[in-house]
């Protein structure tokens, strides 16, 4: 599914990723944990193709295709989905318009017919109900005036509509209370399937109680410094990141 080899990247001349390796197979859930400033969010942005994140070495392939050569929109159309830590607000552009544009673009790339407006409205309502967002949120500006939890649920709804093969959740737990966290985690779990993979980026172990990973990686100073099963997350929670940093020094 996703193969990252020796990935190095910098932002504004500062090296952030310093040779990262990871291999995600179909259906797997990988958690990436690490202290602040380790490069967790950078990894998500580099994979999603954000401007200003310059790859200096290494490779990243999705379904065997070189991800790093593609524009951001192309990556999304190929099945990559980044759930943002801080989804932006877009006043003046309705959620419905935005979702339709997004779904049409991705479906077109997959050779599928666009949904008719009627079909799409029905589908969008269904999904908004599934993530517990009132239907009138579809008429509002994208994320406009949404609470932190509502924004994350909106991300989840987009994920459901786009049916990506690789989902990267960037600190999806940040700013969520326990109830909202459960709603989001249930939504993610419902999307788990043998041909869909997840990279769950998080600072805290808490989220992993709900989204149980197959592998846990610790990212520190731009590299994976330790990998293990889900029990690694519990160890980290107990010992703190200084335990890892102490080991690597």
């Amino acid at each position: 599914m996703l193969t990252i080899k020796n990935l190095k990247a910098k932002v504004e001349d500062k090296d952030i990723l310093k040779g990262l390796n990871i291999d995600v197979k179909p259906g797997e859930v990988h958690a990436i944990m690490g202290p602040n400033g380790a490069g967790k969010s950078t990894l998500g942005y580099v994979l999603a193709g954000r401007d200003g994140y310059e790859v200096t070495d290494g490779s990243a392939e999705l379904h065997g295709e070189n991800l790093l050569d593609m524009d951001a929109e192309e990556r999304a159309r190929k099945g990559l989905f980044l759930a943002f830590q801080y989804p932006v607000e877009i006043p003046g552009v309705s959620n419905m318009e935005f979702l339709k544009a997004s779904v049409d673009a991705v479906r077109e790339a997959r050779g599928l017919e666009p949904y008719s407006s009627v079909e799409f409205i029905k589908l969008a309502r269904e999904k908004s109900k599934a993530v517990n967002l009132p239907a009138d949120f579809l008429k509002r500006g994208v994320n406009e005036g949404f609470s932190g939890g509502e924004k994350k649920r909106n991300e989840l709804m987009q994920m459901m509509l786009l049916e990506p093969s690789l989902c990267i959740l960037d600190e999806t737990d940040s700013g969520l209370d326990i109830d909202a966290l459960q709603v989001v985690a249930e939504g993610v779990n419902a999307l788990r399937s043998p041909d869909r993979s997840f990279i769950v980026v998080t600072h805290y172990q808490r989220l992993l109680d709900y989204i149980v990973p197959d592998y846990v990686h610790v990212l520190a100073d731009g590299k994976i410094v330790k990998s293990g099963g889900k029990e690694l997350a519990l160890e980290l929670e107990k010992e703190g990141y200084r335990w890892i940093e102490g080991e690597t020094v």
Partner: protein
């Protein structure tokens, strides 16, 4: 201005037209002022950022008979449409009870002088008023009688056509006390038109009357449009006036609204969208002459390509206008490195118990917003169109005015896509 602006042919044509003495006198007065008025240059404060070069080097003439256009429809609205070609009324629709439309040329001397006096009393040193006066052969007086509520919008549909044609028009809209109406003025031009449109509108909103007004400058091509809109609000009058300018070579509109009766309410909003090498200039002045009036003004602009816009928004709170509430906001989006906006909000406050605020911003499309679209598979180009439209749509949404939205959304969607229809397919 006579040396710089060549209107000799248009003036000569005036002599051939039969008209009452009082109108001749009015024109002559204007011509005198015109010849005494200095040609505005960059050194003229009012014209600092807008050049009038595109008016020069052309011998402007009055309309010639062959320069008549067949009615163009820019909008499809369930309205009563009154059509004008180069300032001439070309149809006579049936108007609802209590609504009358008089031509200045049909007025008695007393009525005519009243019309001109009403128009004249609203002036405030705008150079092109003298041009309007000099060439004015016809005016239109739309009146809504006391307590009449007109449900259907009334559309004044102005069409320009012909080569080197200058047209001066004066519309006077008068709502008597307690009346309620929606009046939309649209300006369009035939594809080959090469014109100078000099269109003035005066709005009088009586006690407790409510006027919803649109003034949309939609001419594309070789069109210069220079004119003014004035408004006078009586006690507890309410005016909502929406403006828009797209296309053409140069568009300049001076808008002056006066609060003359206590408790009056104004909502003044506008959108300007210069692209190519177009120049659009809005000068607005809100005169709070009496206490307890409110004004809210929002103008937004998007400048693309080499497009340029000027926004000058002035709020003037007079000495006795206590408890005035006035807010003005101007936001601008620059889509290209070659685009330009000159914005200048001005507050002049002479009363001490008022609440006033103003603000102006200039920005480019937010990269983090663009990335969000792209991360969802939407192309950058489509994202730009959707974001630009959203910037204007945010204002339309805030107005919460159904006609504005049904009228303008399709128009704007087409405009933003710049002939690439698929880029606008997700707007609407």
């Amino acid at each position: 201005m006579r040396t710089e602006l060549n209107i000799d042919k248009a003036l000569a044509a005036l002599a051939d037209q039969p008209k009452p003495d009082w109108l001749v006198h009015w024109q002559q007065q204007g011509q005198q002022v015109l010849s005494q008025t200095a040609w505005p240059t960059r050194k003229t404060e009012n014209w600092k950022y807008t050049s009038l070069k595109s008016l020069q080097g052309i011998s402007w003439q009055a309309e010639t008979p062959d320069a008549v256009a067949d009615g163009i429809r820019f909008v499809d609205w369930q309205e009563i449409s009154i059509d004008f070609v180069n300032g001439r009324l070309v149809n006579t629709p049936k108007l609802p009870d209590g609504v009358t439309l008089h031509r200045l040329s049909d007025c008695s001397e007393a009525e005519g002088l009243t019309f001109l006096q009403k128009v004249d009393s609203e002036r405030a040193g705008f150079e092109f008023d003298a041009l309007n006066q000099s060439l004015l052969t016809e005016g239109y007086w739309l009146k809504v009688a006391k307590d009449i509520q007109v449900a259907q919008p009334i559309h004044l549909n102005f069409i320009s056509s012909g080569a080197d044609v200058v047209t001066s028009t004066q519309v006077l809209v008068e709502l008597e006390s307690g009346a309620r109406a929606t009046i939309a003025e649209t300006f369009s031009a035939t594809a080959e038109a090469r014109v100078l449109v000099n269109a003035n509108t005066a709005l009088y909103v009586g006690d407790n009357a409510q006027l919803t007004h649109y003034h949309l400058l939609l001419e594309e091509g070789e069109v210069r449009h220079i004119g003014r809109v004035t408004g006078s609000l009586s006690r507890f009058a309410s005016l909502s006036s929406f403006h828009m300018a797209v296309g053409g070579i140069l568009k300049r509109k001076d808008i002056t609204i006066r609060h003359r009766g206590e408790g009056a309410e104004l909502s003044l909003n506008g959108v300007y969208l210069p692209k190519g090498h177009e120049v659009i200039d809005y000068h607005t002045t809100l005169e709070h002459e009496v206490p307890n009036c409110t004004s809210s003004e929002i103008f937004r602009g998007i400048m693309a390509d080499h497009g340029k816009a000027v926004f000058n928004g002035r709020i003037h709170i007079h000495k006795d206008a206590q408890k005035s509430v006035a807010e003005m906001n101007n936001r601008n989006l620059l889509l290209s490195d070659h685009a330009e906006i000159d914005t200048k909000p001005e507050l002049e406050i002479y009363a001490d118990d008022v609440r006033c605020a103003h603000g102006a911003t200039i920005a480019q499309l937010d990269k983090s917003l663009l990335f969000y679209f792209q991360a969802r598979g939407i192309s950058k180009k489509e994202a730009e169109v959707m974001l630009s439209f959203g910037f204007i749509n945010e204002l339309l949404d805030a107005l919460n005015d159904q006609p504005v939205q049904t009228l303008l959304r399709p128009l704007l969607a087409t405009l933003f896509a710049q002939k690439q229809a698929d880029l606008a397919r997700h707007i609407l």
